[in-house]
């Protein structure tokens, strides 16, 4: 029963996908905040994630073939290739204090915030449409 509802309702309106999007945007926001906080730290390497690439990876299920688990002690490989890859960017030359470009970070911050807002708003719309369908008006 739960599986049917999951397939017919939640997957259809994409709760999972929006959840991933919000998760990833929140994590990217954390990375960017860390970069801004460390904008005066000597030798610090700025960190970022490839938002589009990670979203594709999360939705496509990853390149790994699923391993069958026929014994209780077997380890499943499903959901294991989901580790988000952090791209580090160190200082480019010896004159650079660190790898943080504050203009880039602030722009990324704004773009990422917009991504998060889009995800949250779309999910809200989907859920309110579902609610309308249930109530019938």
């Amino acid at each position: 029963m739960g599986n049917v509802i999951n397939k017919a309702v939640w997957q259809k309106i994409g709760v999972d996908a929006f959840g991933k999007m919000l998760d990833l945007a929140a994590y990217r926001h954390k990375l960017i905040s860390g970069n801004v906080a460390n904008s005066a730290t000597p030798g610090y390497a700025s960190k970022d994630v490839d938002f589009d690439g990670e979203m594709k990876k999360a939705l496509g299920g990853g390149p790994m073939l699923p391993l069958a688990t026929t014994d209780q002690k077997h380890i499943s490989n499903v959901g294991r290739d989901t580790k988000v890859k952090v791209i580090e960017h160190g200082p480019e030359s010896e004159d650079d204090l660190n790898g943080v470009d504050i203009d880039k970070e602030v722009t990324n911050l704004a773009v990422n915030q917009m991504n998060y807002t889009i995800g949250a708003r779309l999910l809200e719309k989907q859920l309110s449409a579902l609610r309308k369908a249930i109530v019938g008006r």
Partner: protein, 165 residues
Amino acid sequence: MAGIFSSIEISGSGMSVQRRKMNIVAENIANAETTKTQEGEPYRRKRLEVASDADRLPFQTVLERSLTSLTLTNQKHLSELPTAMGNYETVEKANGEEVVTEGDEAFRLIYDPSHPDANAQGYVKMPDIEIINEMVDMMSANRAYEANANAVGASKEMIKNALDI
């Protein structure tokens, strides 16, 4: 607290570092002409050395890691059991440490025989503080503080959006 709330904490660490920087700049400027401190020697210039500080792992993660210790000896081996935050690496905070200029390089000699702290040759040891440098430090700290404050604002906006779902 994991997730988006910790990003406010990270920005907070940056703000606290910049505020301490401002305090130190103010102290340096205020003491630019101090020839005698409590130790009996002229004031020594202070500065803040900033370093990144890894976010401490939550207790749950450490416990799970120590319980499931699978070693990875081959690239194709699978990693340990996924944890709640297992898919994400931790983010580094900023942390500052106060450093005092050591040795006689901290002083510059000025000829003023009538000064009570003058030595036998008539030279007075003054703190080696350039007001211009301090001003530049102050401005950069100010701007960096603003950037961190903006990041906190963005975090708040995002949390508000999440609550609207």
